[in-house]
Symmetry: C2
Subunit: 240 residues, 2 copies
């Protein structure tokens, strides 16, 4: 009985954008894999992960951009995940490892989750290994020079898709709140923070750790910000 | 007018324990600093950070263990932070950089916060730079092979010091809950999870990414666990 040994899919959290915020472990797997996959950029631009790993990979490695559309339609999403999984499987079944580079961490609101789950579903024999990375809230706090959480503080993290009522609930419960990808709902969030007199206890970091990073410490003067997609808001709800 | 230029205090998140989960940036600052500080271990044992960096530092670097007692007494804590800040300042004022290595991330329930704030208070001219690291919830999720959060999920993180009512509130609000350093309250937590029929949606990781890492996926059979200090519990409150 002979069989080609399968390759392994490595999910690598490569950090928030600064290429130097990759871990040694992720870098080792990234450079050892014959195939390097990453989320394809939008509109012909390079994706965040692709840019962050550019200086670490070699021309001998095959680059595999995978398309994950920014849509809410579940059928369209699943179709994209399946196509990506098929593409990855094509290499794994030939015994080639595939390193999937994901911005931030691979377990924290990451595209890698869908790729891994779809691959596992379609090809249960798949071997998958995950390497954690620095996620953007940690990078934002470091850039701001503030603690994210201390002592007995309770932290709430909300992603982009939420209603104002959920923010209000979080304000009642948490000591610190992180709103991920806040750009599309910023106007509503600003009003809520104003109502709760929290504007001066709020911070925004755009594109944390990247060359185009921008910081706002205190938001009273910034009612009408036009924020980029990777913008994150931290609210220190209660005094420390 | 002549003056010695001041050294910089670098707060380095060196990751959850696996030495390879340090970032390239933290490693660069760690190896460049003439003085390497870290939280002193308890009872003569090496601390987590000290062990994780052992293979990265050289005999030429001065090692500076700083004592941070595990107590609730605020006066005792502040006295320890002040003493640590004085020790660090002794090197900074001579123009020597000090790299403070902290397990996990430096903004996320980290001793570094107190050191940095105390130093800034005592010596406002201090130069401090923070480098984020991989925190333990991300490492635990990767070890478990599960996503921590996906899509629109709301995440609640609670530290060790909390009351059962706060856990119940978090269960009502969040989709995913992380309980940090759960060992001292595990019996009460287990009962709450049982009441909410969440034991089989709960996971524990002891000493994530270290050689003594232990995983429990589903807790029905584990009512009476004796957990070590670095134990973390993840509850997937709602189906994904």
């Amino acid at each position: 009985m002979t069989q080609t040994s399968l390759g392994t899919l490595y999910g690598l959290g490569i950090g928030p954008g600064d290429p130097e915020l990759i871990t040694l472990k992720a870098l080792r797997h990234l450079q050892a894999a014959p195939v390097v996959a990453f989320p394809a950029g939008l509109k012909g631009q390079l994706g965040v992960a692709q840019r962050a790993i550019a200086s670490w990979i070699s021309p001998q490695q095959r680059q595999l951009p995978l398309s994950f559309p920014y849509v809410q339609n579940q059928a369209e999403l699943e179709s994209a995940w399946q196509q990506a999984a098929h593409q990855v499987w094509g290499y794994l079944q030939q015994g080639q490892d595939v390193a999937f580079a994901s911005e931030g961490d691979i377990s924290f609101y990451s595209t890698f989750t869908y790729l891994a789950q779809t691959l596992q579903h379609l090809y249960p024999q798949s071997q998958i290994e995950a390497v954690p990375g620095v996620c953007s809230p940690l990078a934002a706090a470091a850039a701001l020079g503030i603690p994210l959480t201390i002592q007995a503080q309770k932290l709430a993290v909300l992603p982009a898709l939420y209603a104002p009522t959920q923010i209000t609930q979080a304000l009642a419960w948490a000591d610190v709140i992180v709103l991920m990808k806040v750009s599309s709902v910023y106007a509503a969030v600003w009003s809520i923070l104003q109502t709760h007199q929290l504007l001066e206890r709020s911070f925004i970091v755009e594109n944390a750790t990247r060359s185009d990073q921008v910081i706002y410490a205190g938001l009273s003067q910034y009612r009408d910000l036009k924020l980029p997609y990777f913008s994150l808001l931290i609210v220190q709800v209660k005094p420390t």
